[in-house]
Amino acid sequence: MYETIYHRPSSVDEAVALFGKGSDSKYLAGGHTLIPVMKQRLAAPSDVIDLGKIKELIGIEASGDTLTIKAATTYFDIMQSADVKKSIPAIAYLTSVLGDPAVRYRGTIGGSIANNDPAADFPAALVSLGATVKTNKRSIAADDFFKGLFTTALEDGEIITQVSFPVPAKAGYEKMRHPASRFALTGVFVTKTKAGDVRVAATGASQNGVMRVPVIETALKANWSAGALDSVKVSDSGMLADIHGSAAYRANLVKVMAQRAVTAAG
């Protein structure tokens, strides 16, 4: 690891000010991506600004039709939250199968979506549920937030403060775990909104990161059941392919995981 200056601000404003002062600053959330690449000397930030102790970034609120999770809330706290379990149990479930206990104690929702790993779980939940990402500057719809592999709408120095999820009528998540990394080899989040709309998002599938799956949405809109997808064919065009899964295999997983997510959603 190269030398760096570590900061632990206590407010968002302080964090933003620190970020501006550094010549090449990086925000630190759970650190599961940044720290390993720093250890491998693939990243050399001048300043590392730890967002993990900013009180205003931690907490979960459920009010009526909205579940709000603040950005530095850990997976463990999300998984344990009674509010999450009551309003959107699919998010509690997603978090419970995310990584392992050590990962869940440190990783945060904000860190996950800011990094936008193409195999991360939370981007699928945000896109499927039609969540809104709030930053220190603005609000961004999930559909506009994720911009492809490891790329988001965030501007330099912008900090995610919270994510607001509309509480759906039904939602479910299922994934096939990557045999080595335990990220999603492919995961699918399905949502039926209270207005009757259906939104389906897949992670670990597309070469462009998290994606909507219109062919599955159409079928589920007509008939919200796993069986409705039996005859659906998901194209393998543009799908990720590597030693752990061919494009055809991942296309198959999108369908199968969607079916199981619908079953889980009830």
Binding site: A180, I243, S246, N252
Partner: protein, 779 residues
């Protein structure tokens, strides 16, 4: 058996320090003046090293020295050796290319070191390494066996035309050919045995320390066999003479074979400590472990089985290509030959066997022994063939095996091994009972009705352990004898130290070896200390690998114990004024049988060292040594049965049950044996389902971290049901056979046999990932 004697599941003495983080590993060792080494490694699989410019780096903060491959050559440091000579079928020797510890001219795998930076801190060494400019001229690479043996393939070493190191055969080719001509049925199978990365929990590490005043070197290293390391370093590498070199292997966090070998990094740390005049430490990181620890397996095999009209096996013919990587590692040549093809008879009476093994160079990390070392490859070939034959002949796979089991012992196979004892039917019976084999068809039908694909797979393995009779392995080309040594020191106050040439790096010797003393003398194991891993403390020994420490190492201790006991009895008889033949040892006391007269061990020991009243002519002291050379290999064997379900929609495998019935002979500590079997099964199942080192066509390792190389985790594994059947090994007085590798040897075939049974398609390579299984089902 006492509470701590042979057969007792005594809790491991060493675990307290390990689980409280107080083990002492190489990286924990601090020495005044210590410097830190960072190796500059090739990013290319095959390239000429045109130049190395250290001018900008050498003045950077903290830099103590920068050494290159050319300096290794200039200092006449020897090239790495291979310790087992294999002769090709045409009578020629191995075509071995030179392997300098750092490459002066040509790099042949990604990760091969070309230079080392030594600095006050590791970080300073890394900073300076980035300022060293290495100019490479890339060459075409041969990244796997097929690429290496095809016409016009890039040549790795001028000594090995066509990249072939040897073309070796065993068995009677003509007789086997005749058996196939006369066969009623022939079964053929193409098999890929996947390449594995050992991944011991502790990465390799070394500290070289040179004492100029005494012209003496010390090497602290992560070794399974420190004495062999000293021998090789002094005899072949010209770094330090044997009497001026101490090698210490302290606590070592797992080896699985990968820490048998003497690697370039240890050589360089030791050599560099004299060059820079400071102690030099190198601790590998996980990436270096993936790139430079000797890998395991990597075979391409075609195997054929001939059977007569009664389904009796009449012949086995095998042709294997083995990938040895870019250089010949220390025992690499023996693994796909004498440790592999000599086990191709399996548990079966096969009158004719012929095997040809062609070992080749590729632009990949060197390949050598990894838990099982040749025997998993053999067992996989035989057990996949038997299963395939049963399916082809439409007979029950258990019955086909039983029909062909060897039942008379000793049994001479056509491929050198003479099995001393076993009861293969008993193991199979035990495993079948444990899994309710008879009830499987009903369970499969029920699963099918629920939309699940259920399969069952058998694997009846045999292995050769307790390596090895020195004369026998010498005649086969081994450069060393494979005996073991021991010294038993009874201290003046009666505590006992056992100095052993075996080395524990997870096996639990500090407990099991004490149990032998407890058994013999009746003293608590807390009174016994096992000393190992330091050439200054312990007499020459051969180390731990090949499941040899109980059968060979513990037997050496027993031989030394017998000498100590004999002398102690003489002293006791003298003190008690009794006949030596009337002395018996019970609960730490020497008693005159049939009387109440006794003398406790501490008093005997004290008498030995005060020497005030010893029998006439007796030397003082109570310390004896022994060297034990085994008379034969030992032959652990057993039956594993795996029952699992495959999710046809995803290709994911879920275990229903996994049962083992092993025959390890006498068990010293059943709890430790169970742990060894669990670990071995995890590695065997890991090979079958998860693990696979994959290179791209340019020779880059795609699976160079745990993000892509899938190590088995607890939730990948079933809750094993372990059983034992026992035939005592006649080859050693304890009747032990060895248990360290069995799981890794037998498990893979059981898993693949079960999956292919479930999906009804026999074409499936390891690792059987969900992706591969799904494609096997759906095309």
């Amino acid at each position: 058996m006492g509470v701590e004697g042979i057969g007792a599941s005594v809790v491991r003495k060493e675990d307290r320090r390990f689980i409280t983080g107080k083990g002492r590993y190489v990286d924990d060792i601090k020495i005044v003046g210590l410097t830190h080494a960072h190796f500059i490694r090739s990013p290319h699989a095959h390239a000429k090293v045109k130049s190395i410019d250290t001018s900008a780096a050498k003045d950077m903060p903290g830099v103590v020295g920068i050494l290159t491959g050319q300096q290794i050559v200039d200092d006449k440091v020897g090239n790495l050796i291979c310790g087992w000579a294999i002769t090709s079928k045409d009578g020629t020797g191995m075509k071995m290319g030179a392997w300098p510890a750092m490459a002066p001219e040509t790099v042949r795998f990604v990760g091969q070191a070309v230079a080392v930076v030594i600095a006050e801190t590791k970080n300073q060494a890394k900073d300076a390494a980035e300022a060293v400019v290495v100019n490479y001229e890339e060459l075409p690479a041969a990244a796997d066996i097929r690429a290496a043996i095809k016409q016009g393939a890039p040549q790795l070493h001028p000594e090995a035309p066509g990249n072939v190191i040897y073309d070796w055969t065993i068995g009677d080719e003509a007789a086997t050919e005749a058996a196939f001509k006369a066969a009623a049925n022939v079964v053929s199978l193409d098999i890929t045995n996947n390449r594995l990365v050992p991944n011991a929990m502790e990465p390799r590490a070394a500290i070289g320390e040179y004492n100029e005043a005494e012209e003496h070197f010390t090497l602290y290293t992560t070794s399974q066999n420190p004495h062999v390391a000293r021998l090789v370093l002094s005899a072949f590498y010209n770094i330090a003479p044997e009497h001026k070199l101490r090698v210490v292997a302290p606590d070592v966090g797992g080896g699985f074979g990968s820490k048998i070998f003497i690697y370039p990094e240890e050589m360089v740390a030791l050599w560099a400590s004299k060059k820079v005049g400071r102690p030099v430490k190198w601790t590998g990181d996980r990436t270096e472990a993936f790139l430079t620890d000797a890998h395991g397996r990597d075979h391409l095999t075609n195997a054929e089985l001939a059977l007569d009209a009664n389904n009796k096996i009449t012949g086995l013919r095998v042709k294997t290509y083995a990938n040895l990587g870019a250089y010949m590692s220390l025992f690499s040549s023996s693994v796909p030959t004498y440790l592999y093809a000599t086990l191709l008879s399996g548990q079966y009476n096969i009158p004719n066997i012929f095997a040809e093994v062609i070992s080749v160079y590729t632009n990949t990390t060197p390949v050598d022994a990894y838990r099982g070392a040749g025997r998993p490859e053999a067992s996989f070939v035989v057990e996949r063939l038997l299963e395939t034959a049963a399916r082809q002949l439409k007979v029950d796979p258990a019955e086909l095996r039983r029909k062909n089991f060897i039942t008379q012992f000793p049994h001479q196979t056509p491929v050198i091994m003479a099995y001393d004892i076993g009861d293969f039917g008993a193991s199979l019976d035990s495993a079948m009972k444990a899994i309710d084999y008879a009830g499987f068809p009903a369970r499969k039908a029920k699963a099918k009705s629920e939309g699940k694909l259920r399969g069952i797979g058998l694997s009846c393995y045999i292995e050769a352990c307790g390596i090895a009779p020195s004369k026998a392995v010498g005649s086969l080309g081994a450069g060393v004898g494979l005996w073991e040594s021991a010294e038993v020191r009874v201290n003046p106050v009666g505590t006992i130290e056992i100095l052993t040439g075996s080395h524990s790096h997870g096996q639990g010797h500090e407990t099991t070896f004490c149990q032998l003393v407890a058994e013999r003398l009746g003293v608590p194991i807390s009174q016994v200390q096992i000393v190992h891993g330091d050439t200054d403390k312990v007499q020459f020994g051969m180390g731990t690998y090949g499941s040899r420490s109980a059968a060979v190492g513990l037997t050496a201790i027993l031989k030394a114990m017998e000498k100590v006991e004999a002398k102690a009895k003489k002293i006791a008889a003298h003190a008690l004024e009794a006949s030596e033949s009337d002395i018996v040892i019970e609960n730490g006391e020497f008693k005159v049988t049939g009387t109440d007269k006794s003398i406790a061990l501490p008093m005997v020991a004290l008498a030995a060292y005060t020497a005030h009243n010893l029998p006439d002519g007796m030397e003082p002291g109570l310390k004896e040594g022994a060297f034990y050379d085994p008379t034969n290999f030992t032959f652990p064997a057993g039956a594993y049965i795996c029952e699992l379900e495959v999710d046809a929609a995803t290709g994911k495998t879920s275990f229903v049950n996994f049962v083992a019935a092993d025959d390890f002979g006498r068990l010293i500590n059943p709890m430790i044996v169970e742990g060894q079997v669990h670990g071995g099964l995890a590695q065997g199942i890991g090979q079958a389902l998860l693990e696979g080192a994959v290179y791209d066509s340019s020779g880059q390792l795609l699976t160079a971290s745990f993000m892509d190389y899938a190590m088995p985790r607890a939730d990948d594994l079933p809750s094993f049901k372990l059983n034992h059947t026992t035939t005592l090994c006649p080859g050693n007085p304890l009747g032990v056979k060895g248990c360290g590798e069995a799981g890794a040897i037998g498990a893979s075939a059981a898993v693949i046999n079960a999956i292919t049974d479930a999906i009804g398609n026999n074409k499936l390579e390891m690792p059987a990932t969900p992706d591969r299984v799904w494609h096997a089902i759906h095309g």
